[in-house]
């Protein structure tokens, strides 16, 4: 492929990395904000997600341009297609994070401190770890290293599943009054977003593996 193709693809890759980093920073900030329900930090976390959607549309347009002008084949084609799908996964991770922040801003003070420390923070920590590992894969091209990181992400994603299950059980067992049901439902729905963000991290990691390993696109 021509240098112009490599340069264009590098730019797309860098943009994806930068945008994914913003989602990661938002989740890290959310983690810190949750520790003491800091309204200031929640707002800061929200700020990191500003304009992500339009930035991703720009990247998608760049990718379409590359497809139209360079007609990539084989690994080049897999890479471009993977990036096009990764932008969608980042968008979903970003909107999940945004929903999570919104509910925290509204209900954080009402959530038992013990629940936050024992369940919510570990759940968020696993989400952050899964995202962090996935983003680190973007700039790695050694397949063995990528596979190792992929397994670490699977471990973190499993943790989010288990922690969410435990959290749900705990919250529901302590539900005393049916008047709390609506709030509890909203909070649980929000916590579930952590699990979904970790799912997105797995999907992105899987797409990065697809670039190097080939085969067929598949669900993890």
């Amino acid at each position: 492929m021509l240098k112009t193709y490599d340069d264009d693809l590098k730019e797309v890759k860098n943009s994806i990395r930068n945008i994914a980093d913003k989602v990661l920073i938002a989740n890290k900030t959310l983690f810190n904000a949750t520790k003491d329900c800091s309204e200031k930090l929640f707002s800061e976390a929200k700020l990191h997600l500003k304009n992500i959607s339009s930035s991703l549309v720009d990247v998608d347009n760049e990718i379409i341009k590359i497809l139209a002008l360079h007609s990539p084949e084989a690994k080049d084609l897999r890479e471009v297609v993977a990036y096009l799908k990764i932008t969608n996964e980042i968008l979903r991770a970003s909107s999940n994070t945004r929903s999570l922040i919104r509910v925290f801003i509204q209900y954080c003070e009402h959530i038992d401190k013990t629940i936050i420390n024992e369940y919510v923070l570990p759940l968020q920590a696993s989400t952050v770890k899964a995202l962090e590992n996935t983003i680190s894969m973007i700039n790695i091209d050694d397949i063995d290293e990528l596979k190792d990181i992929f397994h670490e992400i699977i471990v973190e994603e499993d943790k989010t599943d288990e922690l969410y299950g435990m959290l749900e059980k705990k919250i529901l067992s302590e539900l005393e009054d049916s008047s709390d049901f609506e709030r509890t439902h909203k909070v649980l729905k929000a916590f579930r977003r952590n699990e979904k963000i970790a799912d997105r991290a797995i999907s992105i990691a899987n797409l990065i593996l697809y670039i190097y390993e080939g085969g067929i696109l598949q669900r993890v």
Binding site: L2, T4, Y5, A68, L69, S71
Partner: protein, 261 residues
């Protein structure tokens, strides 16, 4: 964007033809850009390309209408190339607007002499200057490393891709302002094609490039502007990105997507 060439209401008729092959073409060629001409066989793209250095005039009886304005990089008033009447004016035009053909056309002489031949015709006699200019041209055409140890060997011993790069170096040595490429890679394998494409992208820093190609992917890969021609008309001319992503004319879209006919 600065203009290198401006084609205004240009029509061209071959000798003994009753109707024009090119009809009322209006097309700018921007400086230091690669402009690609695409279209089905017989649409007139090579005829248009060859008009830019009046190579048709090698044979008499052609009829030109309209103007082709050639700009220089000093910002002076452009010249209409059809105002050139004398032989030396046409030679000068072909120095300013060089041409690379489909099949490599090395002269049956050494690699070095292939490059210096045109320079000698220009009156350069100093051997050191000739060698220096040859080295610069070969480096500029990404051939130096491959031939530096056999400059006195015959150019016909080079591979097809190397011969084509030698022809480019020969043209580059004359310091042209514009280079016309008429399907320069259609006789080459994919590796040689890639090296010529890389070279074209490099050359556009110094030289304005016009290329005729049947290879749609080549046009999309290397050009900045693209013109689609059909039956002697310039159907659409725009940024390459627009032509290949959002063409305005249905004919262009049909041709690019292979639904033409």
């Amino acid at each position: 964007m600065k203009l290198a060439i401006d084609t205004k209401k240009f029509s061209f008729t071959y000798p003994k033809n009753s109707s024009p092959t090119l009809k009322n073409i209006n097309m700018p060629v921007y400086a230091n850009q690669v402009t690609a001409l695409i279209g089905p066989s017989g649409c007139g793209k090579s005829t248009l390309l060859r008009s830019y250095n009046r190579i048709h005039d090698v044979y008499p009886g052609n009829q030109y209408d309209g103007k082709i304005l050639l700009y220089n990089n000093k910002g002076e008033k452009p010249e209409n190339i059809f105002d050139y009447k004398k032989e030396n004016e046409l030679i000068k035009l072909r120095q300013r607007v060089g041409m690379i053909f489909q099949k490599p056309t090395p002269f049956p002489m050494s690699i070095k002499d292939n490059i210096t031949y045109g320079l000698r015709l220009l009156g350069i006699k100093n051997k050191t200057e000739l060698l220096d200019r040859a080295e610069i041209a070969l480096k500029g055409s990404a051939l130096w490393e491959e031939v530096k140890d056999r400059l006195n060997s015959s150019a016909t011993g080079l591979s097809g891709g190397q011969q084509q790069r030698l022809c480019i170096a020969r043209a580059v040595a004359l310091k042209p302002e514009v280079l016309l490429f008429d399907e320069p890679t259609s006789a080459l394998d994919p590796i040689s094609t890639a090296s010529i494409e890389e070279l074209i992208i490099e050359l556009k820093r110094e030289i304005t490039i016009l290329i005729v190609t049947h290879n749609m992917q080549q046009a999309s890969r290397i050009s900045d502007m693209t013109g689609f021609m059909y039956l002697g008309d310039l159907v659409e001319f725009d940024k390459t990105e627009t032509i290949f992503l959002n063409p305005k004319e249905k004919q262009t879209e049909d041709y690019i997507t292979g639904r033409f006919g």
